[in-house]
């Protein structure tokens, strides 16, 4: 059977599609991706950060990008009886926060059975987000001191204790 009708239909649809302009968007794909793949501490594009806080659609797209490159992620944690949590599973990883002990700051401990180890952690709670370098593992375990003198580390510790905090291991 002739393919002419089909081809005309395809061309007609392509013509129609040419006329459409894009819906207004605050943040483009590439800016969002640059933010999703940034190194911790790198300067950020504040228009992206603002859009992530105020625009649900942008935040959703960002999390999709993050989820796609994450070794593991968990949208929420199972809450402990007192509401705060010290330990949670994130995919094949287990994350634990050991409380401060004397002069020693709280310690984030991350153990996993995966061959690959994450380089970074990003936590989301409401419209707050923090990204930190995890450092190299020792014997398959990552230890990160949540130094109260480092605002991001302090913030991360506080957020991770809330079960509603989403965690991405990157």
């Amino acid at each position: 059977m002739s393919d002419e009708g089909r081809m005309l239909a395809e061309i007609h649809a392509a013509r129609g599609l040419m006329r459409v302009s894009a819906p207004a968007r605050t943040v483009g794909h590439s800016a969002l991706w640059a933010h999703a793949t940034r190194e911790p501490g790198e300067p950020v594009d504040f228009s992206v950060v603002r859009a992530l806080r105020t625009d649900l659609d942008t935040a959703q797209r960002y999390r999709t990008m993050l989820g796609a490159q994450a070794l593991a992620y968990a949208p929420v944690a199972a809450a402990a009886s007192d509401g705060a949590i010290a330990r949670r599973r994130i995919g094949a990883f287990e994350l634990e926060i050991l409380p401060a002990d004397g002069d020693a700051p709280p310690l984030l401990v991350l153990r996993g059975t995966e061959a690959k180890t994450p380089r970074m952690i990003e936590a989301w709670l409401g419209d707050e987000m923090v990204r930190l370098d995890l450092g190299a593992p020792a014997d398959g375990t990552i230890l990160l001191a949540l130094d109260p003198a480092v605002p991001d580390a302090l913030e991360l510790g506080r957020m991770l204790r809330d079960p509603a905090c989403a965690v991405f291991l990157l």
């Binding site: 002739s2 393919d3 002419e4 009708g5 089909r6 081809m7 005309l8 239909a9 395809e10 061309i11 007609h12 649809a13 392509a14 013509r15 129609g16 599609l17 040419m18 006329r19 459409v20 302009s21 894009a22 819906p23 207004a24 968007r25 483009g28 794909h29 590439s30 991706w33 793949t37 625009d55 649900l56 659609d57 959703q60 797209r61 999709t64 990008m65 989820g67 796609a68 490159q69």
Partner: protein, 493 residues
Amino acid sequence: MAGQTISMRDLKALQGLAPRERMSGGYDERCAADLAIVGEGRDLSREDRAWLARVVTGAVRPNRDKPLWDLAHALAALARLRGCRDGRDLITLALDPGLARADAIEARLSAVSAEAGAATDGRGLVLRDGGEGWRTTWSGLARLLALAEFVLTSEDLGHFATISGWFDELVTGPDPDAAAFLAKRLARHLAAYRNAHLPLAPLERRFRAILGFLDGRRSFVDDDILDFWRNEMATGERPGFRTVAEHFVTFEAASGLLGGLESLAAASSLDAAEGWEERLDASLADLAASEPAEALAALLSDLPDGPKILTGAERDDLADFLRLEPFHRTRPLTALRAASFGRVQSGIANRLRRGGGGADVAQRASCAEAESYAALRERAGSLATHLARMLKIAAALRIADRDELPVEARAALEAAEADLRRVRRAGFEDRARLAAGFAAVDATLVRLAEETGRLEQALATLARQRPLEPAFAADLEIFARAFATAYAGEAAA
């Protein structure tokens, strides 16, 4: 999300298309947004946009999966060339608007030292496989990266994770076999996308009907469009006259491609296939080059809450006249029929959809409200005059330094200044804002004035060949009869 919905609705209002009509255009809103976001984000040329739209709808011959084959090979070659560690690096390349154009890609990539098996050859990218290998030009690569962004980000990134997983796999061994495997995955993916977002079957039926009606002819006249529409009305499909006329626009643009498709499918020659690609590109590019309906949309969106260069009614009239590009120049009778009786039919369809409001169906079907061709011609003339006047005002606002100008030019600008003071429209009081408003739309204003002028000329020629009063009277009888029969059930209800 809310922002998006509103802007899509605005867009439809602007184009005067109801949602159902857009669906009958062969694509849904999701697909339209997916493509537009990539096109605007990368600031693609109209030719590249047309190519991407063609690939997505499948208007590629002889093999609609060929672009995906090319994309997979391009990604494999890039993975080698750039020494990508994981799929992430490929996504970064695909989403980078700095790689949207051939010259930018060339500047970035041709300097990179080649890894074994992938290289650049001065004209573009090469993936070697021991045999002839695979290659593309820099401009080909620019298009393929746009396609990569489309597959990654379509459906609101619904498949982003899956596809980045495929990229991860490719990067572990970016050889021709892995490329072929990825090509198959991408082809299946795009086929599923088409199933979900491109309802092409009704369009295909309509075009088959047109092909059958024309019975092998490739050219047609205004009355063929009318006759075909009457047939369709009589057989119960009841398509809009405008919609049918739009199908004829596509038919005319693509008619040069018809007739050779079967031999093409059988052809083994790559040259033959490439020749077809060029013709397909050209047939769309002609239409897409600079459509006045789009100029109109651009003009409206660029107006900074500003001077009312066009009122809502003027805008609607212009959209009505120019929507069937290029028929407003080449087939003015069809443009008149669409503007007069097409409007009546839209009124009937809207009333049926709403289940009430305004004049009843029988009354509308009588075409008593149809605007006469003479009146429409007069309106086209006023629009042309108005746009010409606005152009002169634009010049007066732009050119402040007039001392060096010839006397006539200076006089013309002064006349425009005087005229400007007579305009009673919103936003024309504040000169600074007015100048900014005009400056934002200068180019589109010129284009609209040009097209409206052409419409006016075409109508004048038509009126000499076929006096408009009797033509309208004859058409009124035809349309009224077609409407009365087709909508008899609803009219009686």
